[in-house]
Amino acid sequence: MRHWWFPENASSYGGDLDSLFYLILYITGAVFIIVEVGLLWFVLRYRTRGGAAAGGPGRAKAYYIEGSTRAELIWTAIPAVLVVIIAVFSQRLWSELKDPANVPPDAQPIGVMVKQFEWQFTMAGADGRLGTDDDITRKDHLTVQVDQAYQLELQSIDVIHSFFVPAFRLKQDAVPGMTTRAWFRATRIGEYEVACAELCGLGHYRMPARLVVLSAEDFTRWQAAEAPPPAGGGGGQ
């Protein structure tokens, strides 16, 4: 049953996102209960046993009232206040996630090139930069270091795909002709799945990639082992 709810969070902002979800769940849950219980109560309280055969609920009349400005003002104002609260909290997290100024300054770049139906990840080597000789490129496999921030630069070769890591609460479309960006900081060592969330063709359902989060020591060891051998003949100027 625990699989029927959020996957355990493994990113720095996933907890905030979950909290926001719960805030909305409590607010909407309260409205939900008020409406559903109210409806049920009214049905039980005010129903009549006339039936169609009797031509309606009998001769007695209902309470004649055409409305109440006061009541309507109340149920206009309360939802308005509630949605403003939700919007304010949402905006705070949104700007943390999406404002380019809020990307962690230590974020290391990861290049993501996606096509039908595979991911190609380019991870920076020890120099922390892309486009150099020690870049590590892997298909459907991404290894990162725990507590280190990364910025993804997503590009698509063919159609729109969407990079989705449920455990990180992270999703970002990759659009052909554009570079889209997203960042994350993994907080838990382990292995996670990357999924494609945007319909991209026949193989859309089978695009899992492995995302491995290693401790700092393991990561350094992995990076050293995986780094491509220096290109011969002075290629690395």
Binding site: A62, G67, L93, L97, L199, C200
Partner: protein, 584 residues
């Protein structure tokens, strides 16, 4: 504001009156009578509702029992279902066409084809639509549109498989889906559908403005007519955007233009902006008429005036207005500038305000009523109860960060079905049970109606509520086999439960089908006003004759004078005078 006399209604109707006995073809097939056209739309869209539902069953089979052969699926052919196992490509066609049929060929024509046609002239006291021939064309254009939409199922390569949202460049590049003809047919069918919709809308708007009976001032209009009026305005502005966007999509495929193709300078996001600029008003096109229908029935079933009539009107207008500036909430994760995301979030959550007003006003209408729980009323109450869930779950998606997680998951699938099935479709059932006696002169069977209602209500919730859980667990939508992902494998029992519930839901429509056809011929004669209602349609025989009213009615008050303390009965038709208080 004074309403123009309903008697002056153009040469068409006057001309028709000279032909005393129109031929069968003119009377029932190429009819210009709004009531016949409404019933044509009814049969048409119920057919597509059934087809769309059948496709959903195939989808649910694959998700509930992935990779297992479906008994009898051999008839679908080796390409679609080799050995009875649904193939991935056919699955995507199913997903695409289920939504296309349901949205464009079932729910929309039910609301703005059937109910708009049937109710507008009768409820405003007009003999027919302002443009009866345009009206006939509006229906007959739906025939080629429907044929084109169905044809995809039998052409080589199968139906369109890029989703009903047809995102470019998946949709406009045949290599990416393996579908060529099917996608072209899809574009053509949507373009023809758009033409039909425009003819209908221009007709509804003109009729409501010009053909209201004397005394039917704007604030005496029934809420259903208000909702249909605002909906027609939405449709006339939104549908051309869709038509233009789809024609550009078509050109990309057949003329090798590149509006949406990035390799040669096109923009995939342009399609999304155009599609959702239509697509979000479309959501309100699909829900406002449902709200209008439900308002009529809740007032009738509560035997009380609608609570806050004026506010209800302003709420309809408010929802429609805000509906134009929220389309970007479908695109928060698309790569659109995040600052735009913020503004779309704000406009989206604001829609909760007029929506809440409507919900609480319906509850206010029921409060201290004398509830007559006829089948239409049960369906109308279910509309409120279910639409609330769809509305509230929308707030999760409106919150930009939460949407980052739940976007493109089953949470969205749950949401759209709570709005379009829990909302629109329950209202449609309410409306059919309520106006069937007027359409066919006979009552539908209450016992079968209640059986249909309760089984549908339970199976519906068992089907769609657990989809919220799938979404929260991260289950993506439109995936052929969730077991390709380890984190989704534990959800299989939930998927199987949903599928079994969906099969029950489908089977639960049988009492409705039986009831519908049986009652048409054998139902108890309805009489003029079986629900003891106030609308002008209940002041004429069931079914109403050609031309509707023997004499143009005079409207003396609003449509919701139930349980007025000074009347003899607990209702008062709009053409009956309000009693003057003794001594007043």
């Amino acid at each position: 504001m004074t309403a123009p006399a309903g008697a002056a209604h153009g040469p068409d109707a006057a001309h028709a009156e000279h032909h005393h006995e129109p031929s069968f073809l003119r009377k029932y097939v190429f009819s210009t009578d709004h009531k016949v056209i409404a019933i044509q739309f009814l049969f048409y869209s119920l057919f597509f509702l059934l087809v769309g539902g059948a496709l959903a069953m195939l989808i649910r089979w694959q998700l509930g029992f992935p990779g297992q052969p479906l008994p009898g699926a051999g008839v679908l052919g080796d390409e679609a279902a080799p050995g009875g196992v649904i193939a991935p490509k056919f699955y995507l066609s199913l997903v695409t066409m289920h939504a296309t049929y349901m949205i464009f060929f079932a729910v929309m024509p039910l609301l703005v084809g059937t109910f708009a046609n049937y109710l507008i002239p009768l409820k405003i006291g007009a003999p027919d639509m302002a443009f009866p021939r345009l009206n006939m064309w509006s229906f007959w254009l739906m025939i080629p549109a429907g044929v084109l939409a169905l044809a995809g199922l039998v052409v080589e390569g199968g139906s369109a498989a890029a989703g009903w949202t047809a995102y470019a460049p998946l949709a406009n590049t045949p290599d990416y889906t393996g579908v060529t003809t099917g996608q072209i047919l899809w574009c053509l069918s949507i373009a023809v559908f758009a033409a039909s919709s425009l003819l209908g809308s221009v007709n509804y708007i003109t009729t409501i403005i010009n053909l209201r009976a004397p005394g039917m001032v704007w604030f005496r209009l029934p809420l259903s007519v208000w909702a249909l009026f605002i909906t027609a305005i939405l449709a006339i502005l939104a549908v051309p955007i869709l038509a233009g966007a789809v024609i550009m999509l078509l050109f990309d495929q057949i003329l090798h233009t590149h509006f949406y193709l990035p390799a040669v300078g096109g923009q995939p996001l342009l399609w999304q902006h155009l599609f959702w600029f239509f697509g979000h008003p479309e959501v309100y096109i699909l829900i406002l008429p449902a709200m209008g229908i439900v308002s009529e029935i809740i007032a009738n079933g509560s035997r009380k005036p609608i609570f806050g009539y004026h506010t209800m009107v302003y709420a309809i207008i408010g929802i429609a207005f805000l509906g134009w500036m929220v389309w970007g909430h479908h695109m928060f994760q698309s790569g659109m500038n995040p600052i735009l995301g913020t503004s779309f979030m704000v406009s989206t959550v604001l829609i909760a305000v007029p929506t809440a007003i409507k919900v609480f006003n319906w509850m206010g209408t029921m409060w201290r009523g004398r509830l007559w729980l006829h089948t239409p009323m049960l369906n109308a109450i279910a509309f409120v109860a279910m639409f609330v869930i769809g509305g509230l779950s929308g707030i999760f998606m409106a919150s930009t960060p939460v949407d980052m997680y739940i976007h493109d998951t089953y949470f969205i699938v749950a949401h759209i079905h709570y709005v379009l099935f829990g909302g629109s479709l329950f209202a449609i059932f309410a409306g059919i049970y309520f106006w069937f006696p007027k359409m066919f002169g006979r009552m539908m069977n209450e016992r079968l109606g209640k059986l249909h209602f309760w089984t549908t209500f339970v199976a519906y919730n068992a089907t769609f509520f657990p989809m919220h859980l799938l979404g929260i667990a991260g289950h993506m939508r439109r995936i052929y086999d969730p077991n390709a992902y380890r984190f989704l494998q534990p959800l299989q029992p939930l998927n199987t439960f949903i599928s079994v519930s969906a099969f029950v839901l489908f089977a639960a429509q049988l009492p409705f089908i039986v009831n519908f056809f049986w009652s048409m011929f054998r139902g108890r004669p309805a009489g003029m006003n079986p629900w003891r209602d106030n609308g002008l349609e209940w002041t004429v025989p069931s079914p109403p004759p050609h031309g509707n009213f023997a004499a143009t009615p005079k409207v003396l008050h609003g449509p919701y004078e139930f349980s007025h303390p000074d009347t003899g009965e607990d209702f008062l038709p709009q053409d009956q005078p309000l009693p003057t208080r003794p001594g007043a």
